[in-house]
């Protein structure tokens, strides 16, 4: 009827959290409680606390057919809840949503896969779970197998598959669902680079066919590359809907206090992060003061404070550094050094500080975002917060500051330059009268030191 794919109006979702807080003050209270006990039992209220949070709070937006809409927000901002409601997994507490067409999700890869069943059996089962008809599965079967590249093992139980094969097969089924609306949540978090490439490729295919895509990600460069428009969620509310570049800029620079440190609040730490418990992230200057603005010409320390409630083997804790536009500049882990990793293979429970130094003369002026990742490679990602803290870099004294022009690019390294004056004759010597007096490594034997600083 219309060109609308999704319409969401005043959508809200309330969750009950925490432990039961119940105090009987009077006899009458207790009696009422006993009387209402069977009713509360049947409603499941006995096992749940009375404390509630609004995971989504009055969200309204529309998505037109064929649009690719990005959804970004910090941990606990309500992104997953929004997707769960739109894919009908859970009901909204208030509000209304209207979905035109079948919703498929790349989040669901491998849902219902049973380790004891063969690849062939799992394709049939998974297809049915995702809502394909049996005829549809049969028709696409060969295509799915070819796409997954596990032809040889199609009659082997998937528990014998490597994790890569498993993921490829699971993705192949999900990718052949052909939904009118595709929901992609954090595909980039799982699988290897090849798999991620495939996911993103599939997503842009879907978009090109004029279908609607909702793309939820923490990866700002993927958001920028794949979406035109993006909504930003903040604590369950819709903070902004804007062209993606603008939304990413907003997301990466807003919401950070100008403090140079970030303490994670309980609602920012997902329950599955345990036993890793992030406490704080700080940016420190050379005097170990917490600062919002650091100098480009001085080294800067980034400090992650965390607690392990149980020992973790193979843990690496590290940072991402992003520009304010969301480009990833680098990723670094505290056990990147092979020897260090072998020495601290198993980290006992306790309180930790992982600290690294960003060398002087590296970053350009501007605003930067630090993210945190704690994971065990190929085993588990404990915690990730792609944008925990922002800080500014002041370029005073940095190379090239004598020109008032802005230097583009996130880094501004101090490089050693040598300038050679090569004469037509063949670089015999440089004129002593030459006011520039460049050092050269020619006939004069490089006696003079580079004097770049005087230029």
């Amino acid at each position: 009827m219309s060109d609308l794919a999704i319409r969401v109006e005043h959508l809200s979702k309330q969750y009950r959290i925490g432990a039961q807080i119940e105090r009987y003050r009077t006899l009458r209270d207790s009696l009422t409680n006993i009387v209402s006990w069977p009713k509360r039992l049947l409603r499941g209220e006995l096992a749940l606390g009375s404390e509630t949070i609004w995971a989504l709070d009055d969200i309204s937006f529309e998505v037109k057919k064929g649009d690719v809409l990005g959804v970004i927000g910090r941990n606990g901002a309500g992104k997953s809840t929004l997707l769960k409601i739109l894919s009908r997994v859970t009901e909204p507490t208030r509000g209304y949503a209207e979905i035109h067409g079948r919703v498929g999700s790349l989040l669901e890869v491998g849902t219902g896969f049973h380790p004891e069943l063969t690849g062939r059996e799992n394709i049939a089962l998974n297809g049915a779970i995702l809502g394909m008809k049996r005829a549809e599965i049969e028709r696409k079967f060969d295509e799915i197998v070819a796409f997954s590249g596990v032809e040889k093992f199609i009659d082997t139980p998937v528990k014998r598959y490597s994790s890569g094969m498993y993921l490829r097969l699971a993705f192949a089924v999900a990718a052949h669902l052909e939904p009118e609306i595709l929901v992609v949540d954090e595909v980039l978090a799982v699988g290897d680079a090849e798999f991620q490439r495939k996911c993103l490729g599939k997503m842009s295919d879907v978009a090109r066919q004029g279908r609607t895509v909702l793309f939820v990600s923490h990866n700002m460069s993927a958001i920028l590359r794949l979406t035109e428009e993006t909504i930003v969620l903040e604590k369950g509310r819709l903070a902004l809907r804007a062209p993606s570049q603008q939304a990413v800029d907003y997301y990466l620079t807003s919401g950070f206090g100008q403090t140079g440190e970030h303490y994670w609040q309980p609602d920012e730490i997902p329950a599955d992060a345990a036993p890793f418990h992030p406490i704080a992230l700080r940016v420190l200057d050379t005097q170990n003061r917490v600062v919002d603005t650091v100098r480009s010409v001085e080294p800067t320390t980034v400090e992650i404070e965390y607690r392990l409630d149980a020992p973790i083997t193979g843990l690496r804790v590290g940072i991402y550094l992003l520009s304010a536009h969301g480009e990833l500049i680098f990723t670094s882990f505290d056990t990147d050094d092979q020897a260090q990793f072998e020495r601290i293979g198993n980290r006992p429970a306790g309180h930790y500080l992982s600290r690294c130094t960003i060398p002087a003369d590296l970053l350009n002026e501007g605003r930067y975002v630090v993210g945190v990742n704690a994971s065990a490679y190929r085993v588990r990602r404990y915690f990730q917060d792609e944008s925990a803290l922002a800080f500014s870099v002041d370029a005073a004294g940095a190379p090239g500051m004598q020109w008032m022009e802005p230097r583009l690019g996130p880094i501004r390294p101090r490089l050693e330059w040598q300038i050679e004056h090569a004469n037509e004759a063949g670089s015999s010597s440089l004129s002593a009268k030459n006011a520039w007096n460049f050092p050269g490594r020619g006939a004069q034997g490089g006696a003079e030191k580079p004097t770049e600083g005087k230029l």
Partner: protein, 287 residues
């Protein structure tokens, strides 16, 4: 290639459906139409449960036979040799086995359905489908075991030279009653289990007690007349009596007791479905 995809797309656009999501309040409709649309999924899940059940076991489907056989031996020894319960002239093994079949179907359905929501947690939290399918398919999964055991029962009857009564045609009706009972209680237990894991601990005791108030190891005629009405409130009484009556010609022919059992079974099923539907909306948040 491109042509097929565009025509497919045109097709989906033409038949596009609009899904409205809004909070449901109070008692939701059962939405049986949706259930029907997902019937293939019910089939697939049943099939998965059956296939997976005996994978990586030495005896495989032999367990389906062995379990009730061992049960039969235990019950026959205890109730025959020690308690000396009468069997109306039917050889005790057949008498007990004929009751163990529907009982096994029921108790297995109960425990499987009870656990089903938790063991399928990753599906429930990720994809939409009518949740009723999960307990439904775990109940249906027991029918395959039942069929295998039924062949054994026929073999035993042949061995003891017992021939089915003319009323054997009613057997499917009693099987249906067993399934209705199992699904009804299964729905209650599975939805309660989502909220209270206590159910996991209560269920084994419940099943054991239930076995004692069901005429599996003894004949329902042992129960005194004045208690018969109360006794029949257990729908499995009607089922087990009916099985023995239709197959072996034992027990009381169906009468008021069966009526009571059937009414209770249907009542439990209908309330179970509505309760399940009501709780369904929060399953994904709580499971």
């Amino acid at each position: 290639m491109s042509r097929t995809s565009t025509s497919k797309q045109a097709n989906t656009l033409a038949t596009e459906e609009v899904i409205i999501l809004r909070p449901t309040r109070g008692w939701a409709a059962l939405n049986l139409r949706d259930l029907w649309r997902f019937r293939e999924l019910a089939f697939f899940l049943t099939w998965r449960d059956v296939i997976v059940r005996y994978k990586q076991t030495v005896l495989g489907a032999g367990w389906a036979i062995l379990q009730p056989l061992i049960n039969m031996i235990v019950l026959s020894v205890i109730f025959g040799n020690f308690a000396k319960m009468p069997t109306e002239g039917i050889p005790r093994p057949v008498f007990t086995f004929a009751a163990l079949l529907p009982w096994g179907l029921f108790s297995k359905a109960l425990s499987d359905a009870g656990r089903s929501m938790l063991s399928n947690r990753n599906m429930i939290t990720k994809v939409y489908f009518p949740r009723l399918i999960i307990p439904l398919s775990s109940v249906l999964g027991g029918v395959v075991d039942f069929a295998i055991q039924f062949v054994i029962l026929l073999g035993m009857m042949l061995y003891y030279q017992i021939y089915p009564t003319p009323a054997v045609w009613t057997l499917p009706l009693f099987l249906l009653l067993a399934l209705v009972t199992a699904l009804g209680f299964g729905l209650w237990i599975s939805s309660l289990n989502v909220m209270y894991r206590d159910v996991n601990y209560v269920l084994p005791f419940l099943t054991q007690l239930w076995l004692l108030v069901t005429p599996v190891a003894y004949s329902a005629r042992v129960v005194p007349e004045q208690w018969q009405f109360l006794y029949a409130l257990n729908p499995m009484v009607g089922v087990v009596e009916g099985f023995r009556w239709a197959l072996l010609g034992a027990e009381t022919p169906p009468g008021p007791n069966l009526m009571i059992s059937s009414v209770i079974a249907v009542l439990v099923l209908v309330t179970g479905m509505f309760y399940f539907r009501r709780m369904e909306r929060t399953f994904a948040d709580m499971v």
